[in-house]
């Protein structure tokens, strides 16, 4: 069920013979190495690049975090000046949210979605490449501010009017604003792309209620992105006009109400929280059944609660503003809605536990990280319910109690889920398993470091330590738990790097062993992505899989015998597609997504430094747009694939 798009026929009825009208940037054919990565439109390679970029930014954000923790280890430290500290904590939050956790969700979505629904690729492969490159352009632009803008210093939610030129004259805020605006383009195009893919390109027989839970959660995530990012974009464009062109959207002296920014930011910002966690929820909904040897408990409830969270997530934004003077009626209303969003989340936790109940649990690294999410997220969820009690929140908000809360949700929740996903799908992507020995070391150091870092922050918050404090004095009595948290953060830093160590060590061992085939289905798993070879061949499935059940692959492997006992009826090797791409036509690679992103990035620098710089940027952008639209979606002259079946829509 793919979108079919035939190339335009000439009036004569012949097919066009010249398909590279712009010779200078001719379509790359049979590219390898760097050129292949720069021009690829393969959703799997793009997914891997998202993952690599996210881990790179995760390291940058992590270094910033260690800077914060070192500064706060003891009272009256002077490692970071007030100005430097403000920039470091702002960049830490911004990089982690927008350039590490969000793209990790995009990495898994890109890699897995087509595989889970049995598609050849995403609906618009070139737009998919563009989504990645423009995200990377925004991320790089934001991070160059370390060197040429001093780093943003407004906090990750960058409240007005402190974000105005009068109070933040350096260009750091401009980098924050433009960088995220540009990265947001990628989120939008990615959302449209993946929604179209799920709606239109599911394998024959895959009805809504036979879709894997990860696919469902990713679909909800993409809808959240589709509606949330524009709200942030509106706020950022207003800020751009304020800062660059003396507009008065947030200028109090001209009658503006600075709470406008807060409303816009959090109308984006709260769905943002859920779109960071839902992909991780999807991942552990895949891993827990596999390593419990049981189907997911209450699939319809899992789907419905995910969709419910997606809807309710729009009605709770003002709980970030309980002390901003909304008035008691608004506070009471948002307080109640915030409480009840705990219901669908609680359903998920209980359903995961019920999946494990009575199962056979294999506690390997992927499963440990999944259990890590279930338990650590529970802690974050409960402190979240505490915040929903608005009166109580007036004591907790903007203290370290909040810092503890959202790290339990985003690190203990989302990142642990993504780590589970790495261990689970690594063999599918790269053809070898990550080491269990290193994996367990990775998990336990992370759990220990994580709880040692963020657990004490609950106490610090209740002792009254406000967040975003460059320093504190002896008399406040915060020294002890800050020191514990700092020690924990270094353990956590080491633990986080072990995923990279593990990847390196496991790859080397695999290479030395002569690259043994890990097989299509190393975990005896359930989804159809395990029905193809590992690593996944470029064309995914040899033929469209036909779906008859939820967890279709598993049901093809196992069936009940006459006594009602489950027995294996086929091996994975028998069922797996051999990986023969004969007759499959793939979308052709292209330079234009990359060139377009570079043009946009140059325009971004122009908006920060000089509008004249926008002219070459706009020229490159327009060239890329024309080149893209003149480049036939189909590479008719390519000889590396047969032209039997045109099966992928073209973006």
């Amino acid at each position: 069920m793919a979108i079919i798009e035939e190339p335009l026929a000439l009036p004569s009825g012949d097919r066009p013979t010249v398909s590279n009208p712009l010779g200078g940037l001719s379509r790359p054919r049979g590219a390898t190495g760097l050129k292949d990565w720069l021009t690829t439109v393969d959703h799997k390679k793009i997914g891997i690049m998202y993952g690599a970029a996210a881990l790179f930014f995760f390291v940058i954000g992590g270094i910033a975090a260690l800077g914060i923790r070192t500064q706060l280890a003891a009272p009256d430290q002077t490692l970071l000046s007030g100005d430097a500290y403000n920039r470091v904590f702002t960049m830490h939050g911004t990089v982690m949210v927008f350039l590490a956790v969000m793209p990790l969700g995009a990495a898994f979505a890109n890699y897995l979605l087509p595989l889970q629904i049995g598609a050849r690729d995403v609906a618009f492969p070139r737009i998919n490449a563009f989504s990645f490159w423009v995200f990377l352009a925004g991320g790089i632009l934001l991070n160059t501010s370390w060197f040429i803008g001093g780093g943003a210093n407004g906090g990750w939610f960058n409240y007005a009017p402190n974000n105005g030129v009068a109070y933040s004259p350096s260009t750091g805020i401009d980098f924050w604003n433009i960088g995220l605006l540009i990265a947001g383009i990628g989120s939008m195009t990615g959302a449209v792309n993946l929604i179209t893919t799920v709606l239109n390109m599911r394998a024959p027989g895959m009805s809504w209620m036979k879709m894997p839970v990860f696919t469902w959660m990713t679909l909800v995530t993409q809808f959240l992105l589709l509606f949330a990012i524009p709200v942030l974009t509106v706020a950022q464009v207003l800020l751009l006009l304020d800062r660059g062109f003396d507009a008065n959207f947030f200028n109090v002296e001209q009658g503006a109400d600075p709470l406008l920014w807060q409303h816009l930011f959090w109308i984006f910002g709260h769905p943002e929280v859920y779109l960071m966690i839902l992909p991780a929820f999807g991942i552990v909904s895949e891993t827990i059944p596999v390593f419990s040897r049981k189907p997911i408990f209450g699939y319809p409830f899992m789907v419905a609660s995910g969709v419910g969270i997606g809807f309710m997530g729009w009605g709770v934004w003002a709980h970030h503003m309980f002390v901003s003077g909304l008035g008691p009626l608004s506070v009471a209303a948002f307080s109640a809605v915030t409480m009840f969003i705990a219901v669908p989340t609680g359903v998920k936790i209980l359903n995961w536990l019920a999946t494990m109940w009575g199962g056979k649990l294999l506690l390997n690294t992927a499963m440990l990280f999944s259990i890590g999410l279930v338990t650590q997220f529970t802690v974050g969820g409960l402190s979240g319910v505490m915040h929903s009690v608005a009166a109580s929140d007036t004591q907790q908000t903007d203290t370290y109690f909040i810092v503890a809360h959202f790290h339990y949700v985003l690190f203990g929740g989302a990142l642990f889920g993504f780590m589970a996903g790495f261990y689970f799908w690594w063999p599918k992507a790269f053809g070898y398993k990550l080491s269990e020995k290193w994996g367990k070391a990775h998990f336990w150091t992370m759990v220990a470091g994580f709880n040692l870092t963020f657990g004490p922050m609950h106490i610090l918050g209740l002792q009254g330590m406000p967040r975003r404090m460059q320093t504190y004095s002896e008399v406040q009595g915060f020294g002890l738990w800050n020191m514990v948290a700092t020690i924990g953060s270094f353990i956590l830093g080491v633990g986080s790097l072990l995923i990279l160590v593990n990847a390196f060590v496991s790859y080397r061992a695999w290479k030395r062993a002569g690259r043994p085939d890990v097989g299509p289905d190393p975990w005896d798993a359930r989804g159809i992505e395990w029905m193809i070879q590992s690593p996944a061949p470029e064309h995914n499935f040899d033929v469209d899989p036909v779906i008859t059940e939820l967890d279709d692959f598993w049901h093809k492997k196992y069936a009940e015998d006459e006594n009602g006992k489950l027995v294996r009826v086929a091996t994975a090797e028998e069922l797996a597609h051999p990986g023969n791409g004969e007759g499959v036509h793939l979308p052709a690679p292209s330079y234009w997504p990359l060139v377009l992103s570079i043009g946009i990035m140059i325009i971004g620098y122009g908006l920060i430094f000089s509008l004249y710089l926008c002219i070459p940027g706009a020229f490159i952008m327009m060239t890329a747009l024309y080149g893209w639209s003149l480049e036939p979606a189909d590479d008719l002259d390519a000889d590396d694939h047969h032209h039997g079946e045109v099966e992928v829509a073209h973006g």
Partner: protein, 437 residues
Amino acid sequence: MNTSNRRNRWRSGLLLALVAVTAAACAEDKPLNIFEPQGPQADRIHGNTLFILWMATAVFVATFAGAGYIIWKNRVSEEEFNDGEFPEQVHGNPTLEWGWTALPGLILAVVAVVTVPTIFALEEKNDADELDVMVIGQQWWWEYRYDVDGDGFFIDGNGDGVVDELDEGLPLEFSLDPDDVSTAQEMVIPVGQQVDLLITSRDVIHSYWIPRLNGKRDAVPGRIHTWSLEADEAGEYTGWCTEYCGLSHARMRMSVIALPQNDFDAWLANQMLPAAQPDPSDELAIAGKELFGQQCASCHVVDDPDFSYPTILRDSLGDPVLDDTDHEIPTSIFVSPQVAKAAPNLTHFASRSAFGGAIYSQYAELDANDDDLNELGIETYTDLDANYRWNTAQLRRWIANAPSQKDMAPDDRRGMPSFALSDEQLDQLVAYLATLD
């Protein structure tokens, strides 16, 4: 009127209060701890906090015990996992699932029933004849204005008052009602009386938070947020700005000092007096006063007829916007004849316990090492004359080069600049400031 008597009386009251504070501070070394409410508002919040904390703890224990049991009981070795045997393939149990959808819903409904009345209770106003204080945040200190005559107007320097506490929507001005009081760093309140606050800001968003007395409320420029405080006992209650407000957010602190009613009345009466004059024999202080007029009075107000304040008023960026004879020029909320260029009013500087955004103590132990006096340590001056002295060393460092003591951006006209003053000039200024009690 015997002003010196009145001064002595408030001072002894203040010191008495600080004895109580000292005892409290020694007993508990976490001055911002939210679990020690000392006023009815904080107490009410504390009740909610304990309620939800115990609920959350119960759910936490149940979930972790359940998860631990399930994992412990069902874990298997890799061999057993791969032995081809399968546990019962349960796909779900709608009854159970509806149950655990409804049950948390019911629990949370109970939580909501507890929560909502508190939200409204915290908004209740005091009686009309009780004290109202306007709390004005700016980078990086707090100003307090007392509506002493209780006319509900905090403004009306020109006789056309526009803001009363019942009508929050009107545009703000900060020109002072002549019979009101403007002070900084610490808010002095009477014990056992609900003091209503009208919280706002001159520049960016700040948040006012005295954890032992009430939760936070943001100070948003262009808006007045009502909030209240009440202290059950005399003492000092410290707080910290809790909305990130730029460069020196970490050094924007504050405190509330609660005094018995009589002492509070004496304090207030003293605050309403014009600035004290240096003793004619105190040449150092008289020279300091002259220097103050030249160097400091363009930003800091001292209510003394000898100082002529600039006719050109400035907005927060230091740009002249209004001359005080021409009321037709649009006013800005940043304009104030009492706080020209938004620096603390120093008329009664020496009556305060802290300076520099409430981060430095004005007093030090007699034998203290001057190099150690950087931070406000309210252990404090129970017997000023015998054991404590004026914190001259830190005050001199502050006046000479404030940006070296606290991150500020004087070049952007935010914060106090560094002055090239000689040691002799510093001595003169400190001597003059010490007379402003």
